[in-house]
Symmetry: C2
Subunit: 500 residues, 2 copies
């Protein structure tokens, strides 16, 4: 058998879906300091309070015993304690494809795509505003790689009117991919219609719908200490619908948060606890994820920075706070780079390692983020997927049994010889190593002869292939048929205006 | 005081020199498996043995009780045990500048530059063979950044005749930098002259010379299980001179080592133990570093791969083996990329995190390696230094005292406000965050207006500035004067031919 023969080459079976964290979580604070941060956050909620712009949300918290004063709500530690008592520790994220379903729980590792970007950019078409076409393209990119575990709004479809946009986003997610679905919290009517789209598109009966979680949203507070109307309503609506709200204060140290790692985390923690409290007071036991996305600003320009040492330190500290309260939690990677270059790769890779060592349950913006989220980069997405796949490989155990040690091969090969032809190598060479997605390992001469393409240039070909060759998921046809009349009716009725 | 005023802006005091590992070392094997790998390596040395091409080295081991048969040496576990008993656990790496001196010991984190490259490449001058000019330039780059802790032969000065090359390399290191010095083990005469150059250049008396370690070399075995003449002689010579030999099997799984992580590590461990045994039998107590540089080959092309999941797993496993025998050890980063692109950044960053989580004492090839070491990249060096500086920042503790928590600032800023003007921010904003070296955090419009330079383009300006502005070290003038007549005499006598 020729070594180069691929006829009988075994397929490399990898599971990039069911990842569990392989590393021990790493601290930046002593246990005593973690308790002090938690205590400071409780004190902040009690004494300084949160400004919550939605009267309904203030009423929910007031009913639970919180003191209110105009738009301010002072949340006592008893309310927080009760919320942390009823908040679940684990739930199942459902998906159109059962093979894509995941537990959302401490110890699990899920990666979400770069999200919330108004613009997209790629080497062929340049930088441009997100459109429905690019929104749908990015869904196909999410679908193409198993290591992207959930969907996210990588590109805002700005060519769809705001009142109809949520319908287009649901149609895309339910017919172009089969992974857990994202819904923006942009007002009750949009949320209700979006959740209904899932039930219609996937033909879920009541039992199925209430078994686990079919949609997630991200709740950003307006740091410091403010919750706007759509976000407050989103917490309530997702809680009542039994869907997952990911409470994510976005605390930029030195701008909307204190200039220190510890200070920014106190604020992040207080705002996250406030969101969790509102969720649990709206419906005890609702699936709500602790979360944080804190980083620093560049003190020269005031611009947000990502993948910095401070970002990683805040990730590690956030993980400690999550474990302190016992909840699954979300972190985020990211990059401030303006182009898919070494800076972009380094920043995202740094923050992905931070998320791994912080044991984030969900890492959002794990692939494709550029410009601090103002653009989704196609080539950047491919490059980040390479890192995610390498991290996924780290989740696989390393064998150390008799055959793994290769003692026969070691005895067989003479000093200065090589292992290419040993039975041990022959049996394993096709499947033993991670096959790179983007990396080109050819030598310099070969690389030059083949056109001297850098990683960004090669990434272009990879996303083009992914767009061209990723099949629609198995359920897509039926979902489209079921959704068509429902969507037509909703569109005819004008959709639903977003809440300001 | 204007926020933008820099007049009274305090300087950010950082120590990128004295780094200690901040993370708990992460395992890939159970303790039982580590013991099994160690045992397998002992068995390999006893039963299959090492082919050692230098008669003197065979005689040293035979005198210690090893069985020899032609060029083969079978090293019993008693000899290894004795070597591990006498090998020191810590020593001081001396340097022309006392502020650059470091302990070489478990828990310390030292970074060395990309080394051993026949070629160099940069965006202005292209890819070319290493020369004395580029060798000296790379020394200035090493000198420019505190986070590069030791010198290394980043570029081979191929325009200097082999018999004189070591003299040029010592002259450069002793007059252009003030960090611990590298000496190639290319034959006894070259080594003796190189070590003499240090004593002459730095005017060391016998007491100073024998207090700690003034030079290090890297010993690569010819995997599998072979030690060539210069390497074997180097182990003996560095041991007898009390200088540091870093035993570094270069085991590429699937080529010169078994195709598995565990199998490659058994071979690496056996070869490292053989080198340590030779060192300790030559001179008990000699400073010898355990080490490994194992990765996998690309099974499509047979080319070496770096920064892969297998590379990182082998780093973590090597760290476990180092702790099993209790010695400080060296790991390596690296990249197979042909150009300073996203692949290059990702591979090196992955392997740097691997080295951190493996608690490598010394990480070689930490900056500048391209093409699997066939080229030293100037722009790549700058990009890697950014990651090293960020990892160095991770070594600094995160404060969590009263003022770090920023409770006054948190109470002071109203909901939805900002922290720019708080006393807490004002007191800290100039020094709180890591100031990037290469990363450009400006927004897209500003970045485009400034010329839309990517990270590689910006890196060019940074290494140009480093070359132009890095001063000669304080001792350089005197060292040059002392070395001049000595070098002239050595050169007049023809230098010293390398050992084949």
């Amino acid at each position: 058998m020729s070594r180069r023969s691929t006829r009988s080459r075994p397929t490399r079976a990898v599971d990039y879906i069911g990842l569990r964290h392989p590393f021990a979580p790493q601290p930046v604070f002593s246990e005593e300091s973690v308790a002090r941060l938690h205590e400071a956050a409780l004190g902040l909620l009690e004494r300084q309070g949160m400004r919550i712009l939605l009267p309904e949300a203030r009423a929910v918290l007031a009913a639970a015993g919180a003191r209110t004063e105009d738009e301010m709500v002072f949340i006592g530690r008893d309310i927080v304690a009760e919320a942390l008592r009823t908040a679940p520790r684990a739930w199942r994220l459902r998906a159109a494809n059962p093979a894509r379903e995941r537990m959302y729980a401490p110890g699990e590792a899920l990666f979400g795509p770069g999200s919330g970007c108004p613009n997209v950019t790629d080497r062929l078409r340049g930088r441009r505003a997100g459109s429905l076409e690019t929104f749908n393209e990015t869904l196909t990119l999410h679908q193409a790689f198993d290591v992207i575990h959930i969907l996210g709004p990588s590109a805002e479809p700005q060519d769809v009117p705001p009142a109809l946009r949520h319908l287009a986003m649901m149609e895309g997610q339910l017919t172009r991919a089969d992974k857990p679905v994202f819904v923006y919290a942009r007002g009750r009517e949009q949320v209700e219609q979006s959740l209904e789209a899932i039930r219609v598109g996937l033909a879920l009966d009541e039992a199925d719908w209430s078994d686990g979680v079919w949609a997630y949203t991200v709740i950003n507070s307006n740091s410091p200490r403010q919750l706007d109307r759509p976000m407050a309503q989103g917490i309530i609506d997702f809680a009542r619908a039994g869907q997952m709200a990911v409470i994510t204060p976005f605390c930029l140290a030195g701008a909307m948060a204190p200039v220190t790692v510890a200070g920014a985390l106190v604020l992040q923690h207080a705002e996250a606890l406030a969101g969790i409290a509102l969720s649990q007071m709206a419906r005890p036991g609702a699936p709500v994820s602790f979360g944080g996305f804190s980083s620093n600003v560049d003190m020269k320009s005031g611009a947000p920075a990502f993948g910095t040492p401070e970002h990683v330190k805040m990730q590690l500290g956030s993980g400690q706070l999550a474990r302190h309260i016992g909840l699954p939690w979300r972190s985020a990677s990211g990059s401030a780079a303006n182009v898919a270059d070494m800076q972009a790769a380094q920043e995202t890779t740094m923050a992905l390692w931070g998320a791994m060592l912080a044991q984030a349950t969900l890492t959002v913006h794990a692939a494709g983020w550029l410009e601090g989220g103002l653009a989704f980069g196609y080539e950047k997405f491919i490059a980040d997927v390479e890192v995610l796949q390498m991290l996924a490989e780290m989740c696989r155990p390393v064998g150390a049994d008799e055959d793994d040690l290769g003692l026969d091969a070691l005895a067989e090969v003479a000093p200065g010889g090589h292992f290419f032809a040993t039975a041990h190598t022959m049996a394993r060479y096709g499947t033993e190593f991670y096959p790179p997605l983007l990396a080109d390992l050819s030598n310099h001469g070969t690389w030059v002869a083949a056109g001297a393409q850098d990683a960004a240039e090669r990434a272009t070909a990879i996303w083009q292939k992914a767009l061209a060759e990723t099949p629609r998921p198995a359920h897509a046809g039926e979902a489209s048929e079921r959704l068509a009349p429902w969507l037509e009716a909703r569109r005819a009725a004008g959709g639903a205006a977003p809440l300001d």
